[in-house]
């Protein structure tokens, strides 16, 4: 890992087009500003790692695990219509997923 010391308002460039700026330092908390191209998502590491773990967990599901899901869908829609308009999309798509 490259370790650099920076003071408030100083910046680091990563590659040609990513800039990380120290916006504020208060106690043990650092506020970072990140300037990156749109196509590069930027997230707190723990969020990305949590999504990785959840995807890997989900990738172990088998069709037998999801057998009951239609019943849940029916119940959710019934409950929704009891409470008023839900803003359902009009028109059905020809694919497997609609709404």
């Amino acid at each position: 890992m490259l370790v650099l010391s920076r003071q408030r308002d100083e910046s680091i460039m990563i590659g040609d087009n990513i800039v990380v700026t120290i916006v504020d330092i208060r106690g043990d908390k650092v506020r970072l500003g990140i300037n990156a191209p749109f196509e590069i998502p930027v997230h707190r590491q723990e969020v990305y790692e949590a999504i990785q773990r959840e995807n890997l967990r989900a990738s172990r599901l088998e069709p037998s695990d999801t057998q009951g899901i239609n019943a849940i869908a029916g119940r959710s829609q019934a409950n929704a219509s009891k409470t008023g308009p839900t803003g359902q999309n009009g028109g059905q798509s020809s694919g497997p997923i609609s709404g």
Binding site: E54, N55, D65, I69, N70, S76, Q88
Partner: protein
């Protein structure tokens, strides 16, 4: 294209129906091509099957069918890589997971698909959303042991 899958056996997919995920998915970064399959017994469910890894598939659903009030707020920076300017041009599905015996939905990181361009990406939605939103079922009747 023929795929040997562990869940569905050997399936044939039209190359034109294949979705390209340029960044793969978090945790499955090498899986860049996926086919969206219908589940034969559940019309609320689809399966995102990797075309390169027959053992990798994710169950996905349209979130509003299960969480009618779900309104996803996705930053424009997450949509631009998909060449989508408006979330309404996209199809949004969420991944089904499991917590013990309870099925869950990842509402925090939906999958956004540009149907026209046949591309997709998993994005991080804004706001306090659960990655394991529990789908509650009725308590099953006690079964006699065999």
């Amino acid at each position: 294209m023929r795929i040997n899958t562990t869940r569905f056996g050997r399936i044939d997919v039209d190359s034109v129906d294949v979705l390209t995920f340029p960044s793969g998915l978090p945790g499955l970064e090498d899986c860049r091509e996926w086919a969206l399959l219908a589940d034969s017994s559940n019309d609320a469910l689809g399966w995102l099957q990797s075309t390169t890894r027959g053992d990798i598939a994710l169950a996905v659903v349209s979130p509003r069918r299960f969480v009618p009030q779900y309104q996803v707020r996705i930053p424009r920076s997450e949509l631009t890589p998909l060449a989508i300017s408006d979330i309404r041009e996209a199809q949004v599905v969420v991944v089904v997971g499991q917590n013990g015996k309870t099925l869950t939905l990842n509402l925090k990181a939906p999958i956004v698909i540009n149907l026209e361009a046949r591309t997709g990406r998993q994005v991080v939605a804004s706001g306090e959303l659960s990655m394991q939103y529990e789908l509650l079922t009725e308590r099953p009747a006690l079964k006699k042991s065999a």
